[in-house]
């Protein structure tokens, strides 16, 4: 029997851990294959595909009208944006005009959706950090109000199918607008409340500062978008850089941090908080500027919906980043090809870089901070 005398660098044995797909903190069914050296991650590999539902293939086997109803299940927390991305690319293809009233409504509901998505993120992120019972439910209290509003206007709390090719589904009544107005009035205070509890909390600062630093160059390489890249030193936001809909008419700021060496998880947190405030501003303006009369849709919403032949790509700024939809049509009842550019997929892929060298306890703090929705990754 013989044994080799190993070099002095050998520390402790490496351990391979499967985090997920049944781990309580992987937000769905992500599996992360971690190679650990003691408590530290040496290699991390996200294994995806557990939620694959062939959404693109389904788009080629459903009529336009059917697929519209299906597509907001891709990113179930921000269904308005997926609908909108698809509607926009189809409208480009179809050269159809969207009525101004519908555009305002679209912006309004999308920003509401952005807020509700960020609220859910905030709650679950704090759960990831171990604030298990206390704070997470406060964002959910506000989100509940938004979901009630959605339910009334779209008939659904999460899978809205509200934004349609050519316009929107229906108009809100006065009572609804009044309730939304009331919500926007008090929301600013609510955000202050969250910040009072969380932002300067010493344990929260300790857990989030100086970890998961994402340099700008790395973010660009992996195609990271949304608040995650804005925390790393760029002001890329489609609403400003490539304005669409009625955004040019609205006044709002895009928050970003001038940190090309990389933003940490706390930066990503604070940007989302600020974004909620901006979205609230946008909703307020929309409420003031919303035309009371006018068409709701430039196309007829029925089973005979067709889109002209050709191909088109267009994208919107979703809560998680750039959400793009590429479509090829031959003018018949079904599309020839759908291809989606999902922000979560790109944001997730950078994890294998971000996690290297961090202790196990930070995995969830970093993973939560890039804000990933698993159906959006797997489609």
């Amino acid at each position: 029997m013989s044994t080799e005398i190993k070099s002095t660098e050998l520390k402790t044995d490496e351990m391979i851990i499967n985090m997920g797909p049944q781990h309580p903190a992987t937000h769905g069914v992500l599996r992360m294959l971690l190679t650990l050296d003691g408590e530290f991650v040496k290699h991390a590999e996200p294994v995806i595909g557990h939620l694959h539902r062939a959404q693109e293939w389904q788009g080629q086997n459903r009529t336009w009208f059917q697929y519209q109803a299906l597509i907001d299940r891709v990113d179930y927390l921000s269904g308005m944006f997926t609908s909108w991305a698809m509607a926009r690319s189809c409208e480009v293809l179809d050269e159809c005009e969207v009525p101004e009233r519908a555009e305002y409504l679209r912006v309004m509901v999308s920003e509401m959706n952005r807020i509700s998505s960020h609220l859910l993120w905030l709650g679950t992120y704090l759960i990831d950090l171990g604030a298990m019972f206390g704070f997470p439910f406060y964002p959910f209290r506000e989100r509940e109000k938004l979901l009630d509003l959605f339910e009334e206007i779209a008939g659904q709390r999460m899978m809205f199918n509200y934004i349609r090719i050519g316009g929107v589904q229906r108009a809100p009544n006065d009572a609804w607008l009044k309730r939304l107005k009331a919500f926007t009035e008090e929301f600013e205070d609510r955000v202050d409340e969250y910040e009072a509890i969380v932002t300067e909390n010493p344990i929260f600062l300790k857990r989030t500062k100086e970890i998961g630093i994402l340099p700008l160059s790395l973010a660009k390489q992996y195609g990271v978008t949304g608040p995650s890249i804005r925390a790393s030193g760029t002001d890329m936001d489609l609403r400003k850089t490539k304005p669409y809909s009625v955004y040019p008419k609205l006044e709002f700021d895009v928050h970003w941090l001038d940190k090309p060496e990389g933003g940490d998880t706390w930066d990503r947190y604070i940007l989302r908080i600020r974004e909620m405030r901006e979205s609230n501003k946008i909703i307020k303006q929309c409420l003031d500027m919303l035309p009371t009369e006018g068409e709701l849709s430039g196309k007829k919403q029925n089973a005979g919906l067709r889109v002209k032949a050709g191909e088109a790509f267009s994208s919107v700024e979703s809560p998680r980043g750039i959400l793009g939809c590429y479509v090829i049509s031959d003018g018949k009842d079904k599309a020839i090809r759908f291809r989606w550019r999902n922000p979560s997929f790109c944001n997730l892929s950078v994890l294998s870089e971000l996690l290297v060298g961090s202790p196990i306890a930070d995995i969830m703090a970093i993973f939560g901070s890039v804000d990933v929705i698993l159906p959006d990754v797997d489609r």
């Binding site: 013989s2 044994t3 080799e4 005398i5 190993k6 402790t12």
Partner: protein, 194 residues
């Protein structure tokens, strides 16, 4: 550090020498006992001390027999032998002898473990066991011989302290060796072999 490529665990030669030395010691012991018992007055002297010597001899023989006939159940054999022996040696004696005998037995078990084990951490564990046996001894004397004083207690406290220090340093050394050699086998700690 020496970068030897492969190390033999135990060479046949060393093994042979070691066995030979052991055998000589055993033979010497047997010879002494034999000479004692056959010398005039020797046997009577030993008999007069106690009958226990024959008990020891009997149990030794029984132990060896058990070891060879029930090798597969060696742990059960050890447990039964120790418990039975302990009962035989202590039943009917005063409490103090009971405690002292238990202490001696635990000490012997610790010694056995220390000599036998190849895992360095288990050797440390055996040493802790022996130190504890000593503690029992001290507290027993403090209880039955000198209840008014606290010397036994004080020595026990110092032994606790030393044991804690010993465990800390010993384990640190084991960890350090493990980090370098990736083993805790005592036979492979041979950096200072020749």
């Amino acid at each position: 550090m020496e970068a030897t490529s492969s190390v033999e665990t135990r060479s046949d030669f060393t093994r042979f020498i070691a066995t030979f030395i052991y055998a000589v010691i055993v033979a010497a012991g047997v010879a002494i006992v034999f000479a004692k018992t056959t010398s005039p007055g020797g046997a009577r002297q030993m008999m007069s001390i106690d009958l226990d010597i024959w008990l020891f001899a009997g149990i030794t023989v029984a132990g060896i027999a058990l070891r060879y006939f029930f090798a597969a159940y060696s742990e059960a054999v050890k447990v039964i032998a120790c418990l039975g022996g302990f009962l035989i040696f202590t039943i009917g004696h005063d409490p103090m002898t009971r405690y002292l005998t238990l202490s001696a037995l635990l000490f012997a078990i610790g010694m056995y473990g220390m000599v036998k084990s190849r895992n360095a951490v288990r050797v440390l564990m055996s040493i802790e066991l022996m130190l504890n046996a000593v503690n029992i001894n001290l507290i027993t004397f403090a209880r039955y011989v000198d209840p008014a004083g606290v010397k036994g207690h004080l020595f026990a406290i110092f032994i606790l302290t030393v044991a804690a220090a010993e465990a800390a340093v010993g384990l640190a050394i084991v960890l350090s060796i493990y980090r370098n050699l990736a083993t805790v086998d005592m036979d492979r700690f041979n950096l200072l072999r020749w």
